[in-house]
């Protein structure tokens, strides 16, 4: 099997360039590529377009990249947890494109799957439909939406092998599998990296063909946004 292993996050992200289009897996702060984000924060790059369902919080996740003014544009479905985000948006420093969550997921899936465009009902009759082709199929209206791809996709998995095969855990899977397939260069960080052959071929969520680099992550904080418990 082809070995995709790199030493660490720094090595994995070293060729990310200013004005690149990046994808980040995760929903809220769950399943985000913490190590890659940390490594990107150490680089002198900016003008980035970041595709991610959310934009992190002020002091964690993509929020940290916003603080450092590395981001030119966010493409997300929900960005509400971030004061610095709001400030930059209102001041015009930051551009934001809001996309219905299912459309975002499907546009990214389409990018990985070689589908340049597809029809979806989400957003018909709303401002999301502005400038988009509207067409009726079987008595229902749909919008034409385009694929999304990235120069680099950053994903986080629970287990991975040296061939780049990935298994996610719980709801930390979310956008990671589609983004893994939609990156020209996909960088996967995992909590546990094992030799190729140790994962059950029938239980892999992301086939290694989509992953160009993989490394063993460390010091995962896995911050919880809404710790909710019962007695």
């Amino acid at each position: 099997m082809i070995n995709k292993t790199v030493k660490n996050a720094q090595e994995a992200v070293q060729d990310v360039f200013s004005n690149a289009v990046l994808m980040f897996g995760g929903f809220g702060l769950s399943g985000i590529p913490e190590n890659s984000i940390q490594a990107l924060l150490g680089m002198d790059i900016n003008g980035l377009t970041c595709i991610s369902n959310n934009a992190g919080v002020d002091d964690f996740g993509i929020g940290l990249m916003l603080q450092k003014r590395m981001v030119k544009k966010m493409i997300s479905s929900y960005v509400g947890e971030n004061a610095e985000f709001e400030r930059q948006l209102l001041s015009g420093e930051l551009e934001v494109e809001l996309i219905p969550q299912g459309t975002l997921a499907e546009r990214v899936r389409a990018g990985g799957a070689g589908i340049p465009a597809f029809f979806t009902p989400a957003g018909v009759g709303t401002e999301v439909a502005e400038g988009k082709e509207l067409r009726e199929f079987d008595d229902k209206l749909y919008l034409l939406e385009r694929w999304l791809k990235a120069d680099f996709a950053f994903v986080k998995a629970w287990k991975g092998d040296t061939a780049g095969n990935l298994i996610y855990k719980g709801t930390a899977r979310n956008f990671n599998p589609m983004m893994a397939a939609a990156g020209k260069i996909t960088i996967a960080e995992v909590e546990e990296l094992v030799p190729a052959g140790e994962l059950d071929p029938n239980q892999i969520h992301t086939p290694g063909i989509y992953v160009q680099r993989i490394f063993q992550g460390k010091d995962y904080e896995k911050r919880i946004e809404q710790r909710t418990v019962r007695k």
Binding site: L98, G102, M178, V229
Partner: protein, 220 residues
């Protein structure tokens, strides 16, 4: 006027055995507390889970297991995890039969506004546009009027739209109403102590009142 919990309790009576259901953030989340135990239903979390269980005890909190409101949760027996693409494939494909969500405004033809208030910071639509565009049946939990007394059940929505001609039923703090396919809010039930006249006065859109309108009954 109904409390938030009472709105949730009333909506729970609409749940049918064997349904797959998506509950939005806020009042809709409370509906889970009132679904009768003899019904087998499955709650979907659009971030990738079928089979939401109760909130965890302190020792069972798992950062890798959250709901669409980013709250820590547990899983029921027979639950299944999947990606966001699969989750919305399920929603878009009409497999999730019932969606319960909040609204800021609903129009008499079933349009809903619930994602954006001009002049306020826009947080995004999340999965709401996908949900309202696709679900077989959509029930809205909302306040009948704004804090300054303006009706939120309108002829047409004034706020940016989330989806068109999609709402089937509204449970507000004042009433239960069906949105008719041909347009109009058909009054089905009154909140305890609320008169038809008051509901009429507080509904800007076309209200349809046929015969005697019963008070809600919270005994199941």
């Amino acid at each position: 006027m109904l409390t938030k919990d009472q709105i949730a309790q009333r909506i729970a009576k609409e749940v049918k055995d064997g349904q797959y259901i998506n509950l939005g953030i806020g009042i809709p989340t409370l509906v889970a507390n009132y679904i009768p135990e003899n019904l087998d239903v499955v709650l979907q979390s659009e971030n990738g889970l079928l089979g939401i269980g109760p909130f965890p005890t302190e020792d069972k909190v798992d950062p890798d297991l959250i709901n669409a409101g980013k709250q820590t949760i547990t899983m029921t027996k027979g639950s299944v995890l999947f990606s966001s693409a699969e989750s919305f494939a399920m929603i878009r494909g009409g497999h999730v039969q019932l969606t319960i969500l909040g609204a800021m405004e609903v129009s008499e033809n079933g349009d809903i506004s619930n994602w954006k208030i001009p002049g306020k910071m826009v947080k995004g639509m999340g999965g709401a546009m996908d949900l309202v565009a696709s679900a077989e049946r959509i029930i809205v939990a909302m306040q009948h009027c704004s804090k300054d007394g303006q009706s939120k059940l309108l002829k047409s929505c004034t706020l940016p739209i989330t989806g068109i001609r999609c709402v089937d039923m509204i449970v507000s703090d004042l009433a239960v109403l069906e949105v008719l396919p041909e347009g109009g809010f058909k009054l089905l039930e009154r909140a305890p102590g609320i008169s038809v006249e008051e509901i009429q006065a507080k509904t800007e859109g076309k209200l349809i009142v046929e015969g005697e309108i019963p008070e809600m009954n919270f005994a199941s």
